[in-house]
């Protein structure tokens, strides 16, 4: 039980995928101007990331390892991820136009979100330590960490709309610096899971 808690705390806070591991930054910077959009993107990514962790764990465990093909990991993972994303997009578009309105434009971007490939690769690197459940849990934790910082970041950026930021820093420059200071704050979590 406490092991799962540690995995979660580790993935969400201590080794936050965005602020500490520096993965998935493009959507983090790109889709955080509006809170609503950030929540949508976060949710969509969380969904795909969790699913991708599970799927690539299965591929790794039941195909690549038995057939001695670890060198195919990147290739097979990314293809599966792209497939999941594409499928999710089409499915949501059809079944829930409302949700699609919210997530629609972000879904294709998820394929090129480093975090979505990075987490399965990290899981594959630590193959020995993970069971399917733990892999899913780690994937979910990373996704939750992604969503969390994305939403918090969007909150700050919305507030910054009204701030008297110097002209040359308006927009992405100050956003980048804010992300840096957030990352600095997240260093405070260092050591919480040993």
């Amino acid at each position: 039980m406490s092991e799962y808690l540690m995995i979660l705390i580790g993935a969400v806070f201590v080794n936050n995928i965005v602020l500490v591991k520096i993965l998935g930054l493009c959507p983090f910077m790109g889709v955080s101007k509006k809170l609503e959009a950030a929540i949508g993107m976060g949710a969509a990514t969380a969904f795909v990331l969790t699913l991708a962790s599970g799927a690539s764990y299965l591929i790794d465990h039941y195909l690549l390892v038995p057939f001695d093909l670890p060198y195919l990991s990147t290739l097979s993972f990314i293809v599966v991820i792209a497939g999941i994303v594409q499928f999710t997009e089409m499915y949501i578009k059809k079944t829930s136009p409302v949700l699609y309105q919210v997530l629609g434009i972000y879904l294709p971007l998820i394929t090129t979100n480093c975090a979505v490939l990075g987490v399965p690769l990290l899981i594959a690197q630590n193959q020995m330590e993970y069971t399917l459940l733990k892999a899913l849990w780690f994937g979910f934790g990373s996704a939750a960490g992604f969503t969390l910082v994305m939403v918090l970041f969007a909150g700050i950026r919305e507030r910054l709309e009204g701030a008297d930021v110097p002209a040359i820093f308006k927009g992405s420059a100050i956003a980048m610096i804010t992300a840096g200071l957030m990352s600095l704050a997240f260093m405070g979590f260092a050591g919480l899971t040993k």
């Binding site: 507030r159 009204g162 008297d164």
Partner: protein, 564 residues
């Protein structure tokens, strides 16, 4: 009496009321000139009934209430109308509005007045009398009182009389209550009767003991259930919603009418005006105005509507270092564009300002989010957030944070350590939002009309094509008999001769028209002649007809029927 309730926040600015309560209410002599605006109430401007040169009697109707929310305007004394035109009025914009200038003849001769016994009349008749008497709220909102006296769907249980007068400097209600308490109480009886309310509560801030005593005395004489209640002195305790909250515990949200919660609120001066209008048939031609601040003798004056501020100030004795005039109190008042503007029904107080009384505020600093403003906001808003959004023109956000619940009381600006003109930002944001709203509405209307037009053109084309087809069919039938002739017929039907005829006429008219164009100045198309109006109506009717057709036979374009 049940316990008093509290409202959130509030401030205690120094009151400065003692200055102007030292003498009894005096009457300002009839001035040499009155400038009477036709728009002194909320709602539609009154329609002028007089023309330049007309002689009018005191109390004569000179502005007729329009339909809907509107009120009447009267001559404040007898004399001659010397001008009707645009003049600068007491408005924040400093822009001119339609006014009648009246040169008094000094006789101050009333039109024949007929009072009525309201108890034997119908409530609707009493309201009509008030409407034509031009009685509007004198507490600041200048809303037509007859409309506020309509009982409506909800039963009004409590009538609240607002004698709080919470703004610093202002004492006109205080003095009125001291001197004419019985008239106020009688007015309250009329209002209670019209609204069929059960009880009347008069709320007076406890810094006016004399007024409370006088009102209690007068209330004793009434057969109605009228209670005078001393409420704590706390700005803005006189705001209708705050007073209702204090007296009854009921909170009336923004955008909700208090009658829906069974309460109606009137200013005490309004009550007195209602009494005089009903009992004596006297329209609202004067009011009590506090003149205070940087004047020699601060006091209260009974002033004819239309008197210029200069006349009032001169009477009280103007002082040299005066640098401006405020209409209303220092918290919510309006800086006047000059002393030439006239006293209107809303003018409860004129403060002559000087740098000593109202020193220039230090330059505004950024908001430090200290939340003092939130602590004093009677509407329980977060003024610092509203400011943040208004400042950066994020109007949607401002609205989300309940911008329109702000009553512009100014308490937040008063306490702000950064001296930010907060209320000003809210006013700015509100008026931007309103104008956007109306732009959006006209854009929507334009879209409807555009789409409808497309539809109409499409339809006309179709009809033409059908006709053409019919003709061609006929032609084809005739072809057997005379083929060549039929062809010619078909050809002419493609280009209808009237068009070519019209074009020819146009050519002919051009020369003459161009000559005219050079000579004539354009005039305002807004003021349409009856003939043009009829024409528009006719066109509209035609459109309506096509609309009907449209909605029956084909799928109508989006929302076009909103147009009608």
């Amino acid at each position: 009496m049940s316990m008093l309730h509290k409202f959130h926040g509030g401030v205690h600015p120094p009151t400065h009321k003692e200055q102007s309560t030292r003498t009894a209410i005096a009457t300002l002599p009839i001035p040499a000139k009155l400038v009477i605006p036709f728009h002194q109430h909320v709602g539609n401007i009154a329609k002028p009934l007089v023309q330049v040169g007309d002689y009018v009697l005191k109390g004569q109707l000179i502005g007729m209430p329009e339909d809907g929310i509107s009120s009447a305007i009267h001559a404040s004394t007898s004399g001659t109308i010397s001008e009707i035109g645009m003049q600068v009025v007491a408005h924040a914009s400093g822009l001119p509005d339609l006014c009648a200038t009246l040169l008094p003849d000094g006789k101050d001769e009333w039109i024949p007045k007929t009072g009525m016994d309201f108890r034997s009349a119908a409530a609707a008749d009493v309201r009509q009398v008030l409407r034509l008497a031009g009685v509007v709220g004198l507490g600041g909102a200048v809303f037509p009182s007859d409309l506020k006296l309509r009982a409506g769907k909800h039963k009004v249980k409590t009538l609240v009389l607002n004698g709080a007068e919470c703004e610093p400097y202002i004492t006109c209600d205080d003095m009125l209550m001291r001197e004419r308490a019985d008239e106020i109480i009688k007015g309250a009886e009329i209002m209670r009767w019209a609204l069929e309310a059960e009880q009347v509560l008069v709320g007076i801030e406890d810094n006016k003991p004399q007024a409370i005593a006088a009102m209690e005395q007068a209330a004793l004489a009434s057969t109605d259930d009228i209670k005078v209640v001393a409420v704590p002195t706390l700005y803005p305790g006189g705001g209708a919603k705050q007073l209702i909250r204090v007296l009854t515990g009921i909170e009336v949200a923004a955008g909700v009418r208090s009658t829906e919660k069974g309460v109606q609120c009137f200013n005490v001066a309004t009550a007195q005006a209602i009494y005089r209008a009903v009992q004596f048939g006297e329209p609202l031609v004067s009011r009590i105005v506090t003149i205070t601040g940087n004047v020699r003798e601060p006091q209260n004056l009974e002033v004819l509507i239309g008197t210029t501020v200069q006349d009032v100030v001169d009477y009280a004795g103007s002082l040299p270092d005066t640098d401006g005039y405020i209409m209303g109190g220092p918290m919510m008042g309006l800086p006047l564009p000059g002393a030439t503007v006239s006293i209107v029904k809303a003018a409860n107080c004129i403060i002559a300002s000087s740098p000593k009384i109202f020193p220039a505020p230090p330059p505004a600093m950024p908001c430090i989010r200290c939340t003092r403003c939130a602590e004093v906001c009677p509407a329980e808003l977060q003024p610092q957030d509203l400011y943040w959004f208004a400042k950066s023109k994020e109007f949607g956000k401002a609205q989300e944070f309940s911008l329109f619940d702000c009553i512009e009381c100014g308490a937040c600006s008063y306490v702000c350590p950064s001296h930010i003109p907060l209320v000003q930002y809210y006013r700015f944001a509100k008026s931007e939002i309103w104008s956007r709203e109306s732009e959006k509405n006209s854009a929507d209307a334009a879209r409807d009309r555009f789409e409808f037009r497309e539809y109409r053109i499409e339809r006309e084309k179709q009809e033409k094509a059908e006709k053409l087809a019919a003709k061609e069919k006929a032609a084809a039938e005739a072809k057997l008999a005379a083929a060549k002739l039929a062809e010619a017929q078909a050809a002419t039907s493609v280009t209808p001769p009237p068009m070519t005829e019209a074009q020819a006429k146009i050519q002919a008219a051009i020369e003459q028209a161009k000559l005219q164009a050079a000579a004539v100045k354009p005039k305002n198309t807004e003021q349409l002649t009856p003939q043009q109006l009829a024409e528009i109506a006719e066109i509209e009717a035609r459109r309506a007809h096509i609309h009907e057709l449209a909605s029956t036979d084909t799928e109508p374009p989006n929302g076009h029927d909103k147009n009608q």
